[in-house]
């Protein structure tokens, strides 16, 4: 198991390096000059030139990249062009909202999506199953920001005063309000993924229920409830874990649109704001943070595979295959 983690971590290094090169290059290729934005509207050419010097934008791209890279290796993501604050500090300030929102959405996705999928499989082709399939298909098809806007419409116009539909209250200030403010955005984020997870769980569950070992467990007299929720579900969760891993990556990367719609100061909004002002260090800092999050989650998913499927765990322990 630890061998697997070490191997995957080493493998992640070139991946992250490539991502950094590509995003650095693409960012600089995008139109817009931070020096102009930095010097302010209507600034004199001299002021713009000074700003460019100060931001070291005159250096070649390669030089700029390696200067950035050398700092990153020392744990320094640089300072924001606009606020002058360290990028790490900015990310740290925005992270709690995004993490909380992601976890909340994740709980909804797994806590509702998986049971829906299982019960749907158990009622295959009966009205309940058909209802779940249609509803989850609708959930998948509607983008989360549309659901967000619909929720705002419902709770901000029709049934006002029940749930807050804008803004964010930090956990340490008021835990109750914090949770209340997250309900709607988390729901908006969760619904499409919930539908995906429900459908995936359903089909995976149906496949597993047709397996010989399920009949065999029943023939051994194992209680039906155990057969379904233990024998079948554990094996059916393999593909679900993969999808939940990918979803978690997206969630932790900050949902740009949902955070904007609900006015939540999270990573996604930081990314958008920094790009609007061509605040290169912040943009690339957030991008690298998201990349690292994805890599880590993929390693976690691989480890979880091993936990669920002993075959994978044992074959990596032996170092074979």
């Amino acid at each position: 198991m630890s061998r697997l983690i070490v191997f995957r971590t080493l493998f992640a290094v070139p991946v992250l390096f490539l991502i950094s090169v590509i995003s650095f290059g693409m960012l600089r290729a995008a139109p817009g000059d931070p020096a102009v934005l930095q010097a302010g509207a209507g600034a004199s050419p001299e002021a713009i030139e000074a700003a460019r010097k100060q931001l070291r934008l005159d250096d070649s791209l390669v030089e700029q990249y390696f200067a950035w890279f050398a700092a990153v290796v020392r744990g320094d993501l640089g300072n924001s062009y606009t606020s002058g604050l360290p990028v790490t500090e900015l990310i740290g300030a925005r992270l709690p909202a995004t993490v909380q929102l992601s976890l909340f959405a994740l709980v909804l996705i797994i806590g509702i999506g998986v049971p829906l999928g299982v019960t749907s499989a158990l009622h295959r082709n009966r009205p309940y199953d058909q209802l779940v399939r249609v509803v989850s298909l609708i959930g998948i098809s509607v983008p989360n920001f549309v659901i967000g806007i619909l929720l705002i419409l419902i709770f901000g116009w029709w049934v006002t005063g029940v749930l807050p539909f804008q803004g964010y209250v930090p956990l340490h200030e008021n835990a109750w309000e914090n949770v209340r403010h997250l309900i709607l955005p988390a729901t908006a984020l969760a619904i499409p993924e919930m539908g995906l997870v429900a459908r995936l769980t359903r089909s995976s569950m149906l496949e597993v229920l047709g397996q010989e070992y399920i009949s065999s467990a029943r023939a051994l007299g194992i209680a039906e409830r155990t057969v379904i929720w233990k024998d079948a579900l554990r094996n059916a969760l393999m593909p679900v874990v993969t999808i939940v891993g990918v979803v978690t990556g997206f969630l932790l990367g900050g949902s740009v649109v949902v955070e904007s719609v609900f006015g939540i100061p999270g990573l996604g909004r930081l990314l958008v704001e920094s790009f609007a002002t061509r605040d290169y260090p912040v943009t690339i800092g957030v991008m690298m943070f998201i990349a690292i999050t994805f890599v880590v989650i993929n390693i976690v998913v691989d480890v979880l595979y091993g936990v669920i499927n002993p075959r994978i765990r044992l074959s990596t322990r032996r170092g074979a295959r």
Binding site: E212, Y213, S216, A217, G221, T226, R234, N309, P310, R311
Partner: protein, 348 residues
Amino acid sequence: MNGLTTSTHPHRPPALRVENLHTVYRNGAQETSVVRGVSFDVHSGEIVGLVGESGSGKSTVLKSLLDLIGENGQARADVLEVAGQDVRSLPRAEYRRMRGVELAFISQDPANAFNPAWTIGSQFRRVLKRHFPGMSRRELDAWAVELLGAVGIDGRGKLDSYPFQFSQGQLQRIMIALACASERLQVLLADEPTTSLDVTIEAQVLQLIRRLRDERGLAVVLVTHNLAVVAEMCDRVLVMYAGRIVEDAPVRDLFRNPQHPYTRQLLKSIPAFPRDGRRLHTMTGAVPDLSIDVAGCAFAPRCEERISGLCDTIRPVLPPRTERATARAACHVVSGAVPAASGGEGDG
């Protein structure tokens, strides 16, 4: 002691008694009648073979007895007695609790019969816990090792291994140990238990089943399409065709003097060893479509001896069992019926 057990025990109730079992699968509006009125009984210490081509309904009979047919299937019987108990009067959940206790099942695919996610030990523990509720984990493990030893597998230190770490033959023996862990076991249903095994391993597994029958007096139903296995193992044979039993015979009678034309053709299809130089018999035609119920004998279209005007209009019935265990066949030719405009049921 193969062959000594006779098939009728007038003073003891059979360990398994089935009367008029019907199993129907529904697929939309289409109904497929897979088992069409199967009746048989199996006594303690008896191995009854259930043979027939693929699609004859032999596996479905076992699945029906175990209440394992899926939600699109339905099984009903006039009588279903396990261990002398009429299980039709029991609530379904109660009957399901008898599985693994009074009656056990061995499948044809040992590699997929175990949950791949759990160790062999944990799969033993949860079954043994049902049979011996008071046992500690250590006692359960010790008992599992004991049971594994009885099927020729040294289980010490192997309880933490996963199913994929064993060979097919080992897994089948482990499954037998697991299925027969209940001390109250009376009926063992085996669905082609050696199909996926190579011949030397097959012999081991068959020997094991026979030993269980001898030592514990189990009533065994052995589904197979391998007639060599039948000859080796069974006391009595039921030949199935298109969802019905067409012949019921003691194993010696079946091979020496097969009654039903279908059985005769089946036996002719076994390759001779050593080679006799003759061309192997091939049965013409295929198993009939089970969604249609024909009026006459289901085998008539493939039968070389059919009496036209009779076999294709009136269904032959399996004669009732008599005190003497002799062969009987559901066939007009065997019962000596003659074609007639208004032929009787032909079961004389």
